[in-house]
Amino acid sequence: MRKSVFLGALAVAGLAAGGAAAGTLDDVKARGKVNCGTNTGLVGFAAPDANGEWQGFDVAVCRAVAAAVLGDHMAVEFVPTTGRTRFTALASGEIDILSRNTTWTYTRDVDLRFTFIGVNYYDGQGFMVPKSLGVTSAKELDGATVCIQTGTTTELNLADFFRTNNISYEPVPIETNAEGQQQYLAGACDAYTTDVSGLAATRATFEDPTAHVILPEIVSKEPLGPLVRHGDDEWADVVRWTLFALIAAEEYGVTSANIDELAATPTSNPEINRLLGTEGDLGPMLGLPVDWAVKAIKAGGNYGELFEKYIGQNTPIGLARGLNAQWTEGGLLYAPPFR
């Protein structure tokens, strides 16, 4: 008797779990907030400002999703996650989206059962060395000491790179990026390796940034993107097409400055009209209002605007668009057609 009651309770809990997992979009609408997993702090990508508001390139994705779904880009509950807690937080339903510079890999997509909804930043691992070392290529780093964060994919990439080039190195293990900066500046290692965006951000903080160079070799592919739980395709579609809307907006020249004008009346470009909801009913197909993309783009601007605001050439980080340019300009950003 008691056992059956217990099993019954378990079954009810399981059903409740299944029911809740089936409709993240409905959950979010009912809750009135998007729970967004973000980094506990990564320069340019996620950081609280002096007023306690989260800012950054990864954060902007969540803000755009909140604007598209709820019409308010501030309706986001940010849950800072660490490298260890991020996947569990998403799998357990504590967060709806994980937008935390997470590399899209096979095992994470297939084995950990997540759905990567796209790539918002194409990164790659590189090396930074002091200019005085006189090194111009990573292949000249034979016998060098290299500062490397332990327990990350960068550690494995580093080993692969040096093995394929048949040169030797001596790793100096570090725990955090801050420690890496200190060690590198103190001369504990000849080279510092991490993602190129991180290297640029780190170099920008040095007293004399020009005394350090980032070597041209990129030794790994790090497509960073937001991800959601596997099996909730409606929600994945919402997040995926919100990201595509930001990318497409840049391609079509829709910015936060001219969007009100473009969205007021149908323009001569049908693609823009469909995106902004002045033609067709793409929004309702997703279960969102007609002007979902307008709200998403107005949240912080299109992809290019966000890039320039948080990590672009005019910020201290000063990243060039590179691979993250539109496909029309030789980059990899390519939003499927809105039709």
């Binding site: 506990t40 320069v43 306690g52 509950e77 849950v79 800072p80 339903g93 201290p316």
Partner: protein
């Protein structure tokens, strides 16, 4: 032939002792330069102190308080102290000290955590200093209800409903004890409030709230951060771990097999697992086990885990005190005809706690510092915040200033605890030495 012997007729005036045998010089000679070995040690130590302060003091003093970014700091320091000078960029503390203290707590509500902190201190005073009027203990009894309400906000009726649970327990104990004896009374007193909290308190508070809305703005646990988070976790863990630890220690000494087994199992299990593991269980594993949508507060989960952890260590500290007490004390208590609880309360515990003060306070300090481990599960305690602040492009690259500030605040709290324990030891030192 000896002449007339000289006899002094008047007494010589007192003279001050030679300068080498009195005052500071004597102290120096006796304590610092008594032998050549001690002289060498003194000189070496002085050199070391000089070296350390010679390098850190200029850095601390030649600083910038007004800049808005690390680059600006460097420019200001170079402008006022010459290029190439390395100085502290305290401006980051000026801009972010409120965030380091309150986390994401809404700034217009800062008075609430401040009031809660003052109330907590006021409530602790009558417990810590026995010289104060005993009537103040009422404050200590009510503060545990008001402080969480101030911090998290919400309906006042929730607070009333929770307090009612304790009242119900008391009433149950009074009513049931005459009927079925003390054990039955204790069980009823434990069971009834739990049932009330689980099933009755929520609806009752909701009902009262709908009849007469009374409450303050709710602040979610995600808004907690900085020292506020550390102190909240620390104070709850510290105040709860002592009574739980005492009970566990007594349980471990007990002759009742089941009680003893449970206590030993609990202590050994919790002590055998690192705190980080418990925190991961609290933050991650529980999410899988609980049905989705269950709103089991993350801070509450962490507080429970830290308290359990501290209790297990506390139990062993108290057991050390119990073991140190001569057997005669137990026998004397028995000979006086005291029952178990009276003997514990009047004879055993006062002596045991006195013996264990250094160990207890060490555990307290350890627990308070361990609260920084929550940054590993993504809660933004001061250390977590130092990382988040560094992620701002304006402050990226700042390390020592943030850690220095955090260390200074932690030192203040831990030093205060340590001094209090020494005061208590002096006050309670009654044995003959």
């Amino acid at each position: 032939m000896p002449g007339p012997s000289f006899v002094r007729r008047e007494i010589l005036p007192e003279r001050a002792p030679p300068v080498f045998a009195s005052g500071p010089v004597l102290w120096l000679r006796e304590n610092l330069f008594s032998t050549w070995f001690n002289t060498t040690l003194t000189l070496l130590s002085l050199g070391f102190v000089w070296y350390v302060f010679g390098h850190t003091l200029p850095w601390i003093v030649q600083s910038s308080w007004t800049a808005n970014s690390l680059t600006e700091c460097r420019q200001q320091i170079a402008a006022s102290h010459g290029p190439g000078t390395s100085g502290a960029c305290w401006a980051v503390i000026r801009e972010r000290y409120l965030q380091l203290i309150f986390g994401f707590y809404p700034s217009r509500l800062y008075w609430r955590p401040i009031l809660a902190f003052v109330l907590t201190l006021a409530a602790l005073c009558p417990i810590l200093f026995t010289g104060l009027p005993r009537r103040l203990l009422w404050l200590s009894a009510t503060a545990p209800f008001f402080v969480p309400w101030l911090l998290w906000g919400g309906s006042l009726w929730g607070l009333v409903a929770v307090a009612l649970g304790f009242f119900l327990g008391y009433v149950a104990f009074r009513l049931v004890t005459p009927l079925v004896g003390e054990l039955g009374g204790a069980i009823a007193a434990g069971l009834l409030p739990v049932l009330w909290w689980l099933f009755g308190a929520g609806p009752a508070a909701g009902l009262m709230q709908s009849i007469l809305p009374l409450g303050i703005e709710t602040v979610t646990s995600r808004a907690f951060g900085g020292f506020m988070l550390s102190i909240t976790i620390g104070i709850v863990a510290i105040t709860c771990s002592l009574p739980i630890g005492i009970l566990l220690a007594l349980g471990r000494q007990s002759d009742l097999f089941i009680v003893k087994t449970i206590c030993v199992g609990f202590i050994e299990f919790i002590r055998g697992v690192p705190l980080i593991t418990l925190l991961f269980v609290a933050s991650l594993l529980l999410n899988y086990f609980l049905p989705p949508g269950t709103d089991f507060d993350i801070i509450l989960r962490v507080v429970i885990m830290v308290t359990l952890f501290a209790s297990a260590y506390m139990a062993e500290v108290i057991r050390g005190g119990l073991a140190a007490l001569p057997k005669g004390q137990y026998e004397a208590a028995d000979a006086l005809g005291l029952d178990y609880w009276k003997a514990q309360r009047l004879i055993i515990m006062p002596q045991v706690l006195k013996i264990s003060i250094p160990g207890i306070v060490s555990t307290f300090i350890g627990v308070f510092k361990d609260t920084t481990l929550v940054s590993i599960i993504g809660l933004l305690d001061p250390l977590g915040f130092s990382n988040a602040i560094r992620a701002d492009t304006a402050w990226n690259g700042i390390v020592w200033e943030l850690y220095g500030f955090i260390a200074a605040v932690f030192f203040m709290f831990c030093f205060a605890m340590s001094r209090y324990s020494m005061y208590l030891e002096r006050k309670l030192a009654t044995e003959h030495r």
